[in-house]
Every structure is written in C-alpha cells, then in structure tokens.
Amino acid sequence: MISDRFCKMLLMLIPLLLLAGCMTTHDRLLDMDTSQVQLRSIQSRAFDTTDKEKTMRAIIATLQDLGFMLDRADYTLGVVAASKARADVMQAPGSLRVTVTVRPRGEKQLLVRANAEYMRAPVTEPKPYQNFFNSLEKAMFLEAHQVD
C-alpha cells in the first residue's frame, strides 16, 4: 500500500510541475537569455541609402537566391518574412525562418535588421547574420555598416 506521505509528496509535485511550465513559456516568449543590445547589434546593419523600395527588393532577391520561400512582405511596414525547409526520407526536416525589417536611420541611412530562427530556436551567434549581410551587400552594391 502506498503511504500517506508519498501521496502528499506526489500532490505537491504536480503544482510544481505546472509552475515550471509557466516559467519556461515566459522565458521562451520574451527570450531574455542573451543581452538584447548585443543581439540587436549582431542582427542589424546600416546602409548608405534612403531607397526603401530598392533595399527591400534586394532583400527579397537575396532570400530567393538563398533558396528561401517568401511567407509575407509588406512595403509600408518594411517587413519581409521568409522560410526555408528541406526534408527527405533519410533526413529529418530542417527549417530556417527569417524576418527582415527595414527602417530609416537618421537622414541618410536605412537600418536593416534580420531575425533568424533555426529548428525552433532563436539564432544568437553572429556568423549566420554576417553571412546573410555579406550576401545582401552583393545584391545592394553597397557596404553594410556595423551599428552599435
């Protein structure tokens, strides 16, 4: 027979588990594990142009070159969202989602920010973003400036 004490412990465990669940959702929703300032600098570049249309077209062309499929694009908001997924019988699906936003930075520049998600986790390392902006530079014929 199961002792009373064991039953009580089991009952206590359930709310604890529920609580733990709440915390992880909260953490995931606001993703506070990396310093926001640092991440913003990794994900952003400034371009010496004010031509929003040309910049957005270059972003879309770059994503298409990289084999992404477009999910959403809005000129007014300056947002482009795209994703790339591949799977095979022998391969589990791998997926990469990117959202790129364009907004003015001062009088003479545009700020491009990219957010990537890989296999359901945020991408926080600098290298993938560097690669993306290198590809974008070629399509823009402009240099991407690091911003703080």
Binding site: E53, Q64, M69, A73, Y75, K84, M90, P93
Partner: protein, 180 residues
C-alpha cells in the same frame, strides 16, 4: 549476454545517427551563404523580357499561375512579388508496390499521399535604362505520406519545368524571353 546488449545499443544508435545527419539538410553555416550552385539555379529560374511595364508582367504571372491551378497566397506589387500554392495528389503506384511488399517483411515505408506545390515569383526592372524586366520563379513541393506526416520538402530544380513556365509566360505577354 553483454555482447547482445551492446549490439542492441548499436542497432538503436544507427537510426538516431541517420536522423542526426538529416538535421544537416538546412544548416546555419550553409544556407545563409551564397554558393555557386545557388547562382546556377538563378540562371535556370530567370528570364528577361523587353518591356518597361513590370506590373503587366506580374499580372500576367498571376493569371498564368491561376491558369495552372495555383491559388495566390501573397503579393506586393510595389516590390514585384507573388507567391502561390496548390494541393495535389502525390500517389505513386510504384511506392505502393514497395509498401505492400515491404509490409510482409516488417519494413514498411508509408507511401506518398498528398503534396503542396508552391511557387514564388519576383520581378524587377533591369538593364541600363530599366528597359527590361527580369522574372524569376522558384517552385517547391512538400510531400505528405499516408500517415499525414511530412515526408519530403524539396526544391523543384528540373530546368524543363522552368523552360515550360517561361514559354507559357512569353506567349501570354507576346514577348520573347531572353536568358540572363
């Protein structure tokens, strides 16, 4: 006893290793970097038309996709983009034969059932004075098996598909399609 246990563990390890290798299908180092293969794809998927009317080309693309059974998902004329998709049957009799034979030996791979086909079109003015419009189309498909699981996501890279798309497009706009 110990030997058989290690063997069993090894047998379990193998499929998980295969799955791990599969995760490399889309990777962070590879898929945000332009490779020569990607440029080769661009060549196949792009044509130029002698016109200044980008909107007309985009409209014709929309009509052509509709004619071929696609539904438009997203469009933004100002940026020259259009995405469309259609759901179709993906049943392959050969796969069913393999499935039936395989199930006798206990190694049944569920056969393909449905597929979602996607198209992504972009247009942009090109040339020194913007007197040409470049059109690029990319096709992709997602295949589901009889258990309704994703079995395959692949880019359709057969040049013939793109040739026939552009042939239809040039007929529809009464313009000749040039290679880039």
């Amino acid at each position: 006893m110990d030997m058989s246990r290690t063997l069993r563990i090894r047998a379990l390890l193998l499929p998980s290793l295969l799955l791990l290798a599969g995760c490399a299908a889309v990777t962070l180092d590879k898929d945000l970097n332009l490779t020569p293969e990607m440029f080769a794809q661009r060549q196949i998927q792009t044509r130029r038309f002698d016109t200044t009317d980008e909107q007309k080309i985009l409209k014709t693309c929309a009509a052509l996709l509709q004619d071929t059974g696609f539904n438009i998902d997203e469009s933004e004329t100002k940026l020259g983009i259009l995405t469309a998709s259609k759901e179709r049957d993906a049943t392959d009799p050969a796969q069913w034969a393999v499935f039936i034979v395989g199930s006798f030996f206990g190694v049944a791979i569920p056969p393909d059932k449905d597929q979602i086909m996607k198209a992504f079109v972009t247009t942009r003015p090109v040339g020194d004075s913007g007197n040409q419009v470049a059109v690029r189309v990319v096709f992709e498909r997602i295949v589901f098996d009889t258990d309704n699981r994703i079995k395959k996501i692949e880019a359709l890279s057969d040049p013939k598909i793109y040739q026939s798309f552009f042939e239809k497009l040039s007929k529809a706009v009464f313009l000749e399609a040039h290679d880039i």
